[in-house]
Symmetry: C2
Subunit: 170 residues, 2 copies
Amino acid sequence: MDAPSTAVAADPALERDVHLFSDALSDLIRVYQFRDRDRICCYDVSVSQCYGLEALVRRGPMTLNDLAAYLYLDKSTASRVVDALERKGYVARSPHPDDGRALLLAATAAGRDLHARIERDLVQEERGLLADFDPGTRAAMIQLLGRITRAASARVEASGGSCCRIGEKI
Amino acid sequence: MDAPSTAVAADPALERDVHLFSDALSDLIRVYQFRDRDRICCYDVSVSQCYGLEALVRRGPMTLNDLAAYLYLDKSTASRVVDALERKGYVARSPHPDDGRALLLAATAAGRDLHARIERDLVQEERGLLADFDPGTRAAMIQLLGRITRAASARVEASGGSCCRIGEKI
DNA sequence: GGAAGATGGTTGTATCTGACAACCAGATCG
DNA sequence: CGATCTGGTTGTCAGATACAACCATCTTCC
């Protein structure tokens, strides 16, 4: 079920790094979760709303189900997220050209503008940090972040969507 | 108020990397927030409970106020988080030796055990990803994660705790 | 030493976010 | 054409969090 214990001893330096990395990542997520909560009142969107808007800006128009899947939210919750974004004028619902049931959600100009503003502030914050590393290391970091994200989302999907197999011993 | 626009043009490679990095980080946080929600039912603790437990295991016993600050939660919320952890047997409240008002919160053996189990699973997941990078790059990544975290938490603290200055132009 | 204020924690309450279920409307398939 | 499937909305409930009011203890200062 889990890796043979020999894997643990195989490379002590790696093992140490993985622990440091894991803790560092954990800290980062924790702080960012708060930072994101904080972002709410700075930009008049909630965390989920912000991610929803980001998805629509970065990936273009999509249906509500697609958005829900992207955000790992129930479609009902996604629907309400879109309600809020629409009410605030950042997103528009249009009928889907090929399917009368479906919607095509798209960011409005105001939505793209807000997203640009948020991204600019984040980038601003990160630029100084990243500047200290050489381009090769930066590229490696970007690559690693992508891999971690894909691994985590693959794991989430493999574990059956909203939850791991209940009752199964982890 | 924000950086002079010349900064943007100063290093196009950096600018590109910062954007890639920002998006990658954003994706990571989003996916991990869900992954963390998922963790709830895997380990019978909520996200905040998990972070609270982690804090007590990694940083040793602390008061409730300290824990609340660490988690960026209101002390009332932290108190309820501890309620849950105590109910489940992962954390114990003891009187503080030097201050009759305060508590000393500490992880129990069961709490340390649960934390070890969670960390082991995370480490397991990350080991394979990290193994592809050479030690120097790994060290740089760990360093960068730490810096980002510190920068984000510094920014949070500078902005007055629970929220940025309302009404101020960002 | 005692009163006034500061500090650590808990409890009451309101809000917000999310999931689940029931439902409706349009599509697809027999 | 009817049965079923699929996309989306709405009703309802549980959980997380903040804010405020409160109590107990500590600190300060007269």
